[in-house]
């Protein structure tokens, strides 16, 4: 069980992330979008979307800080209490911002007729997972780290997480972690596994080249015959209704 949850599952999830993204890039670049619903409703979206996205960016940054950077390194620049305070307060703030944004977004999605009509089952599953992971994340930060005094996940969760990437999985590290942590991690990896198959894929559309490209883009016509293109490999969507 431990092996399954803390070794097999993360690897399957990561493989799905990479494979799914490649597959999507090969065969479904047309579907690579969030299908924005701003056209239907924009008052709520104006507040909720930046709140959620910026909150989430900080959350991700926090994860990178906590998971990828070994404790020894941070202790070089500051004490453990400083780190703890930063992770607790900044983490809670970012989590709450993202959470509030998500609540607003889901509320908007449910209450605005056209937006709800444009919501697919895939979206609903994704929202459930995302919401769950976020809620548990806020939970571990506030309860385990705040109210219960502080659990040093950088002794267990972080080395385990790095172990996965160093091809040196150490499932026993996760055994000792509190239940909330373990749930959070499982949901997190479930989200990673589904990532390429949901609208979350749009996160990989970050326009990194935009600040560096010229404003005006010229391209040659492709194809050798007028207005035709070679059939793509694999299947092509016929209609998108």
């Amino acid at each position: 069980m431990s092996l399954l949850l803390w070794v097999a599952f993360p690897y399957v999830a990561l493989a799905s992330l990479v494979g799914g993204t490649v597959w999507r890039y090969r065969y479904d670049r047309f579907g690579w979008t969030t299908r924005s619903s701003e056209l239907y409703e924009k008052r709520l979206l104006r507040v909720a979307s930046p709140l959620f996205h910026y909150g989430l960016l900080f959350v991700i940054g926090g994860h990178a800080l906590g998971l990828l950077i070994p404790e020894q390194w941070t202790s070089l620049v500051g004490s453990e209490t400083t780190y703890h305070a930063v992770s607790l307060y900044a983490g809670t703030a970012a989590g709450l911002a993202a959470g509030a944004g998500l609540v607003l977004l889901v509320y908007r999605r449910r209450r605005t007729g056209p937006v709800f009509a444009a919501t697919t089952r895939n979206d609903k599953v994704m929202y459930l997972l995302l919401g769950g992971a976020l809620l548990l994340g806020i939970g571990v930060t506030t309860i385990e780290n705040g109210l219960l005094g502080g659990y040093d996940y950088r002794q267990t969760v972080s080395p385990w997480f790095r172990g996965i990437f160093l091809l040196d999985p150490r499932p026993e590290l996760m055994e000792g972690a509190p239940l909330l942590y373990r749930f959070h991690v499982v949901l997190g990896f479930a989200l990673i596994a589904l990532f390429p198959f949901t609208r979350l894929i749009h996160a990989f559309a970050v326009p990194v080249k935009y600040p560096f490209r010229p404003y005006i883009v010229y391209r040659r016509r492709t194809g050798t015959a007028p207005a035709t293109r070679a059939a793509r490999r694999g299947w092509e969507p016929v209609s998108r209704d």
Binding site: Y40, P50, R219, R221
Partner: protein, 553 residues
């Protein structure tokens, strides 16, 4: 100088009868799908009127187009690169569906399925967005023919810019139709605003297109375009826009809107322009100089220097030839009777308009004067401030001078041709008064009034362009990389690495080698290979046989 060719359009507004045939045929061709129900790549607006989407010309609100920053450089009005990157997550400047209009259908089924009763069953409108019954309150041409009364038309942003006195008076003055498509600008803001770089301008014909596979649905282009001629498909989550019917023009057919235009008022042709001067022209300081600046960017295809340069820059001869016969070039640069729509947006639009003289003629007629008399017309153009100022706001950033000049030309032509048709002696003075010779006057008249199908649409095909290219390469060139990331046929180290040399270049080198060196060339050196068709049978040229020492030279 770098010569580029673009297909451009001119519309003669005097002839538009506002029948919307162009809009309907365009819609049936391109936007009759779910997700773009509200989209009209071609729409016809009554002016004065609010337009579609409502009040799109109010750039204080929508912030489309370009402005100059403090250093005088071009910057999208909605913000430059940094600002856009930080505000990616929300785009409050996007018009909502209500600003366009909520598309609807009727529940026709009730007409046949309603139970027997005293009342006639009625098909009620249902929203195509929410599916709910709705009250139809606006559409793409709700204020057609000044429908809805002066109150709607008074909210026309162009009217608001003209003085108060005018505002109270205008509804007595004039009305005309303005058909609009995407301008396929030389300096498009839609493209500049696209974070994904999915919008591009085709090098061959200047058509601005959205790569549907690269678009990520940021919607920034909709904000960027001051003409609001790029739309968001709310089903697919991608931007879509007028394609200038590229599958048609590539084979030499006019766009659907032109083909079906009842008034036969659209002209399509090639314009040559200098790509190096585009940015410079778009950033001239005074809005009112933009018209002249853009005229300056266009090149004269009759100028041998331009033709020479065009050949070097890879513009096919067929296209340069077409540019010489181009009706668009004639109307814009030669007779100078066409004007760009809202040059002050600084996108350098490529669909130009011959402004309507009819408001002036009608005003004259209504006041009991002869609407065809040159003197009367000239006088009226000077005194009828309202239509002229309005047209100037539309076409020349408020500068009445070019508009007056165009209207005078049209008026002179009208009165000159009346003499001719009525059998009176033609008056060369009338032509000279507006700076034209009598021949030019006749030609301009022919182009504006009589031009047949093949005079209105001078569209060189892509096949012609390709044939020229193929002549040079003697085989089809596999794409290097290509859009789909398809691997190039020959790898970076394969024999045919890089684009194959053209036969002419190959022959040149072979002949040169032959004349200048007595040694054999290596067979693996492709440049030294001999084209047997060029071999005169005398001697054995270099490269005909492999070298003996493996080196050859």
């Amino acid at each position: 100088m770098r010569v580029m060719a673009q297909l451009a359009m001119v519309m003669n507004l005097d002839k538009c009868i506002g029948c919307h045939t162009c809009s309907v045929t365009c819609k049936q061709t391109w936007t009759n799908r779910a997700g773009v129900e509200y989209v009209w790549f071609n729409n016809v607006e009554t002016r004065p009127g609010q337009g579609y989407p409502r009040r799109y010309e109010d750039q204080e609100q929508w912030r489309g187009g370009w402005t100059l920053d403090r250093k005088g450089r071009l910057k999208p009005r909605s913000g430059g690169r940094a600002r856009r990157m930080f505000t990616l997550f929300s785009n409050p400047l996007l018009p909502s569906i209500q600003d366009y209009y909520e598309p609807w259908t009727y529940d026709y089924a009730t007409l046949t399925s309603a139970p027997l009763g005293d009342d006639f069953p009625v098909a009620r409108p249902h929203s195509l967005i929410s599916g709910e019954p709705m009250k139809v309150e606006w559409s793409a041409n709700w204020d057609d023919d000044l429908g809805g009364g002066p109150d709607l038309a008074r909210r026309d942003p162009v009217v608001e810019r003209i003085s108060d006195a005018v505002r109270l008076d205008f509804e007595r003055a004039f009305m005309f139709y303005l058909p609009r498509i995407c301008e396929h600008c030389l300096n498009p803001t839609c493209m500049a605003a696209c974070p994904s770089g999915a919008i591009y301008k085709r090098e061959e014909d200047g058509i601005v297109l959205v790569d549907q596979d690269a678009c990520r649905g940021w919607r920034m282009c909709v904000t960027g375009c001051p003409y609001k001629k790029i739309y968001f498909n709310h089903r697919t989550g991608k931007a879509e826009k007028c394609t200038f019917c590229y599958p048609r023009v590539e084979v030499g057919l006019p766009t659907v809107c032109s083909e079906t235009c009842v008034g036969r008022l659209r002209y399509i042709g090639v314009l040559l322009y200098d790509q190096d001067r585009v940015t410079e022209a778009a950033s001239v300081e005074d809005d009112r100089d933009l018209y002249a600046a853009q005229l300056d960017v266009f090149l004269d295809p009759d100028d041998p220097a331009v033709r020479e340069r065009a050949r070097r820059d890879g513009v096919p001869d067929a296209w340069v030839e077409a540019a010489r016969r181009s009706p668009v070039h004639a109307l814009i640069s030669k007779y100078q009777v066409a004007l760009p729509l809202h040059p002050e947006y600084r996108t350098l639009p490529m669909v130009w308009y011959v402004p309507p003289l009819s408001p002036v003629v009608e005003a004259l007629r209504d006041s009991g004067h002869d609407g065809e008399d040159a003197g009367n017309l000239f006088g009226a153009i000077e005194t009828l401030r309202i239509p002229v100022e309005y047209l100037a706001e539309l076409f020349t950033a408020g500068d009445t001078e070019p508009v007056t000049a165009v209207l005078r030309r049209l008026a002179a032509m009208r009165s000159y041709m009346r003499d001719v048709t009525l059998g009176d002696p033609a008056d060369p003075g009338k032509a000279a008064a507006v700076g034209l010779t009598e021949t030019e006057m006749g030609e301009m008249y022919r182009l504006l009034a009589l031009a047949k199908y093949d005079e209105r649409y001078v569209i060189p095909t892509q096949a012609a362009a390709e044939a020229a290219a193929l002549e040079e390469t003697a085989c089809s060139v596999p794409g290097s990389g290509g859009l789909d990331g398809a691997a190039p046929v020959s790898g970076p180290f394969g024999e045919a690495s890089g684009p194959p040399p053209t036969p002419t270049a190959e022959n040149f080198h072979a002949l040169k080698d032959r004349q200048t060196s007595g040694a054999l060339t290596r067979p693996q050196d492709r440049r030294g290979r001999v084209n047997l068709l060029n071999w005169d049978g005398k001697g054995s040229p270099d490269g005909l046989f492999p070298g003996r020492d493996g080196d050859g030279r």
